[in-house]
């Protein structure tokens, strides 16, 4: 890793008014400012997760014609703190059948990678404070793919060590899901890296300000990345790992109290993380709107970028939450089919199209887009043609045609 470059970038990001002792590197190259930033980040993640959970319950409530949390604090705003406090004071059970060493370790292995990935996110600038990014690695993209993948190990540990068949099934599902969806995700990221010609997330955001947002240049890539991350964090409709109606709670069945709270925390932190990554990689990071720099409004983003970043992130979080309450759950084989037969080819198409854009310019790219759309239309048409006529219509016609049988058909009583 290019340590020098990294620390240089960190120093660049640090505002000039900060006293020297804060930014002087100490043990392991970490400065005091870094440590403060870590603590602030942790606090931010924890608080954002609490707000997110409250938000999800409110969203769920209003989608489902009800109110959601209402009486605990004004509009239920103290609901999440109450939940956390309760989980903290809950008895921490370790089942007899559970592995005494692995079982308590698993929650940390699930939460810590998610938290670590927050380190590379370029949050954007805010007046006086400069650009918020804790570690602008040059290999940020690789880091953000590699670290969350460790989550899988934690989940397998949780599932295996619980000594419960439901959790075993759940962890088996998690592994299959993680392995399948890692691939389309990485392929989608290749397009991003190619466009920015860099693996540094800050550079990627800045390149989007010049070239246009990636979501418009490679919409297929955005779709693939978004769906793949949604699946990686086991959110509905891809939540087969925790499928409550089938395997009760997946790998977390036997966890109680704050240990289970860690999993819950990790799940919602992952939603936050992946929304932030999607924002940084595809939605132009902290830019207000595409092309604002050309209109001379770049200073708004430069001053208040953090707020725009957060705004975009929250919109994505809301979309993820919306999907949970709008869709049924996929089955495991359909989930695998979706990854390997749809997302992966789509990722490759996006990769090729982006390559065409980078090498040959915009006109061949436009032709490529057109060809892809035409191909997709043909595929869709054949799919529709292959499908049997709508059963809804069949039932309706049958209902109209049904005649009363004269006498019973002799059903056994």
């Amino acid at each position: 890793m290019t340590n020098n470059a990294a620390s240089e970038l960190t120093l660049q990001a640090v505002p000039s008014w900060m006293p020297a002792f804060l930014v002087a590197p100490m043990i392991g190259g970490l400065s005091l400012a870094d440590l403060i930033a870590l603590v602030v980040l942790l606090l931010f993640v924890l608080n954002f997760v609490m707000i997110e959970i409250w938000m999800e319950r409110k969203v769920a409530g209003h989608i489902q014609l009800r109110r959601g949390p209402l009486h605990v604090g004004p509009h239920g705003s103290l609901q999440s703190p109450a939940d956390v406090l309760k989980l903290l004071t809950k008895e921490d059970l370790t089942p007899v059948a559970a592995d005494p060493i692995v079982f308590p370790m698993a929650p940390y292995l699930v939460f810590v990678p998610v938290f670590l990935t927050f380190l590379v996110i370029p949050w954007g600038p805010l007046v006086l404070f400069g650009n918020f990014v804790i570690r602008p690695f040059d290999l940020g993209l690789v880091y953000m793919v590699a670290i969350p993948a460790m989550q899988g190990i934690g989940l397998v540990m949780a599932g295996w060590s619980s000594g419960n068949k439901y959790s075993l099934l759940g962890s088996a599902r998690v592994v299959a899901q993680l392995i399948s969806y890692e691939l389309p995700m990485v392929i989608a990221l290749l397009g991003v890296a190619m466009m920015a010609e860099s693996l540094n997330l800050t550079t990627i955001v800045e390149s989007q300000m010049k070239q246009g947002w990636n979501v418009f240049l490679q919409p297929i890539g955005f779709l693939v990345f978004f769906l793949a991350t949604m699946s990686e964090m086991s959110r509905a409709p891809f939540d087969i790992a925790v499928a409550e109606s089938e395997i009760v709670g997946g790998p977390f069945v036997e966890y109680s109290g704050m240990r289970w709270g860690m999993f819950y925390l990790a799940e919602f932190a992952a939603v936050c993380l992946n929304s932030a990554l999607s924002t940084a990689l595809f939605l132009g990071g902290w830019e207000l709107f595409p092309g604002s720099r050309a209109l001379g409004l770049g200073w708004i983003s430069d001053q208040f970028g953090l707020l725009f970043f957060m705004g975009k992130m929250i919109v994505l979080v809301l979309i993820i939450q919306w999907a949970r309450f709008a869709l049924p759950r996929l089955r495991i084989d359909q989930l695998m089919d979706f990854a390997w037969k749809f997302l992966l080819p789509a990722g490759f198409v996006n990769f090729i199209l982006t390559a065409i854009l980078q090498v040959f310019g915009f006109v061949p790219f436009a032709i490529g887009i057109g060809l892809t759309l035409a191909f997709a239309a043909v595929l869709l048409a054949t799919y529709q043609a292959r499908r049997s006529p709508s059963t809804v219509a069949l039932i309706r016609t049958a209902a109209a045609a049904a005649v009363p049988t004269s006498q019973g058909v002799g059903l056994p009583v």
């Binding site: 209003h62 989608i63 014609l65 009800r66 109110r67 209402l70 919306w322 309450f325 709008a326 869709l380």
Partner: protein, 163 residues
Amino acid sequence: MRGVLGGFLQTLKSFLTKPVTRLYPYEKPPLEARFMGAPSLLWDDAVDEVVCVACNICARSCPDDCITLTGDKYTDGKTNKKNIIKDYFIDLGRCSYCGICVEVCPFDANEMSPHFELSTYDRMTLVYDKDQLIEIGRGVTRRTGKPEPVGPLPGILDPSTYR
């Protein structure tokens, strides 16, 4: 794709509609006139005593056997009844709130009250005694629209059932 989008649109529609939730502790449920809460004993305001004559038909008709009553000789002479209840217990924990006791009562001495908030820490408090049953029946009037007795009532009004 169309179906998935339809699901999204439908949820968006319901997100924007008004919730149907009734905020219970702050809003009362609109109890219907016929709502059958706990059974209660009616009080005859005209003669200032309980209507019941301790005929035991309700107790015998109760599908859950949750009514227990004992009668006493009636000596006040305010009405022409022969007996009056001494004790009357209904185990509201066991009661199935079917209204049969009200239906069979030949003297219109009881009625289903709208009292439904029957949560206790101790299930023995769900056994309501005479005073409590009169208390929850206060303000309750015998409902109109009861089926008029049609034809003779064989067996039920047998004097041997009086105690």
